[in-house]
């Protein structure tokens, strides 16, 4: 399966009314590790300031999600098999790393929407 371009997808996600609303007031960095890269998106008061593949320490990120290529392939399948249906089932059943900060819980609506967007991006035309 093709991998995804996270920086482009996150930039594109800011045009999505649900994702951009659910990211409101977020100040800090969201780091996503997938397919051998770590993409860091920095937000100021809910606005995306920058997003890039970069080596930012975990301690400087408020939300961290990290998983193997196989795990992301399963999560982003058009119809995931049990129990890859969302970030949290991948976390508790399959070892996806997810931070446990207040921000991780508070911005779960946005993170779930981002997965929907990534899933659509990945499966578009397939």
């Amino acid at each position: 399966m093709a991998s995804i371009h996270l920086a482009s997808s996150i930039t594109h996600a800011m045009d999505d009314p649900e994702f951009s609303r659910e990211m409101r007031y977020f100040d800090g960095r969201l780091k996503i590790g997938a397919y051998g890269e770590e993409t860091v998106a920095e937000f100021h008061d809910g606005k995306l300031a920058q997003v890039a593949v970069e080596d930012t320490p975990d301690a400087d990120c408020k939300i961290i999600i990290r998983g193997t290529a196989e795990l992301w392939d399963n999560l982003l399948a058009r119809y995931p098999v049990p129990f890859y249906q969302c970030l949290q089932t991948c976390n508790i059943k399959h070892g996806l790393e997810m931070s446990t900060t207040n921000e991780t819980y508070a911005y779960l609506p946005a993170l779930n929407r981002l997965v929907q967007i990534l899933r659509a991006d990945k499966n578009e035309g397939s």
Binding site: E22, F83, Q85, I92, Y105, A106, Y107, L108
Partner: protein, 296 residues
């Protein structure tokens, strides 16, 4: 005369005393015939059964009664009791007392109990502890115990995620995605999430005290369930990570005479997240119960 679209559901309030506290409890009714008590999931309310209560194939033989547990839906916390001064935690005894007390108050004759999630666990507890009260119970997403990975989180971890002043209730709704099937219609998934976003503070987390800890039936206790006295039906969705079909099968293996149906492509909230699919599995169960009543 204009044609107005209405659901055939009526609602009302009843006062129930449980553990020496008087509660004003909201419940809704639809249909006629065999009483069918409907117990909602943790942190939600009886709205979850709105599709079932509008299903004429159900309501022509069953008097459906969906109740909101106190602190849920339209059942307020008990007036005159300092509920705000203590942490809410649901216990096994209280979970069983509400349908029992409601059944007595409504003069129901050996009703059927159907519950989902914590209500599914309760269906198993009721069949074990009160077989004389119920002609059958239907456990939707029930098990001997919830999945170990979730139990191991502990109440501190549960409250950190679901009862945290830094986190809005929106996140509880979002978290329910973990329980649902990718095949369920998005509008139904969003409705489940909405209902979870509407709950009272700390109530979902407190319900999980029963769901993860107080409900803990041993295999030997399960084997004590007498299905000749109270039939136990089990229905579990393929995508439920809290009580997977394998975990429900463990109940069926121990309860002689019970009937288990695994439901492909359904999750933890089948009655709400995809009712048209769920009813394909539910109606055969209800038809058996109705046929049994007709032969008595």
């Amino acid at each position: 005369m204009s044609t107005v679209k209405r659901d055939p559901i009526t609602g009302g309030y009843i006062y129930l005393t449980v553990e020496d506290i008087e509660y004003r409890v909201y419940y809704e009714e639809a249909g006629q015939g065999i009483p069918l008590l409907l117990g909602h999931t943790a942190g939600s309310d009886g709205r979850q059964y709105r599709h079932l209560m509008c299903d004429e194939e159900v309501t022509r033989n069953f008097r459906c009664i969906a109740y909101d547990l106190p602190y849920h839906g339209k059942s307020l916390p008990p007036y005159g009791h300092k509920w705000w001064a203590q942490e809410y935690n649901m216990t096994r005894a209280r979970m069983m007392a509400f349908p029992n007390t409601l059944s007595d108050a409504l003069d129901l004759e050996r009703p059927v109990y159907l519950g989902s999630s914590m209500g599914g666990h309760l269906a198993i507890d009721l069949a074990h502890d009160f077989p004389e009260r119920y002609r059958a119970t239907i456990a939707v997403e029930g098990a001997l115990r919830s999945a170990t990975e979730y139990v191991d989180v502990g109440m501190d971890g549960i409250r950190r995620e679901f009862d945290n002043p830094n986190v809005s209730r929106n996140s509880i709704g979002a978290a329910m995605l973990l329980n649902m099937s990718p095949y369920s219609p998005e509008e139904a998934v969003r409705e489940v999430q909405w209902e979870y976003m509407c709950g009272g503070p700390g109530i979902f987390a407190g319900d999980l005290y029963y769901y993860y800890y107080e409900h803990d039936m041993t295999p030997d206790q399960a084997a004590e369930i007498d299905t000749d006295q109270c039939m136990l039906y089990l229905l579990t969705g393929e995508y439920d990570p809290n009580t997977s079909p394998a975990e429900t099968q463990a109940v069926a293996d121990r309860v002689k005479g019970s009937e288990f149906t695994a439901m492909p492509k359904l999750g933890h909230f089948p009655a709400t997240e995809n009712y048209p699919e769920f009813r394909q599995h539910l109606l055969p169960v209800l038809n058996k119960i109705a046929a049994g009543a007709a032969h008595r």
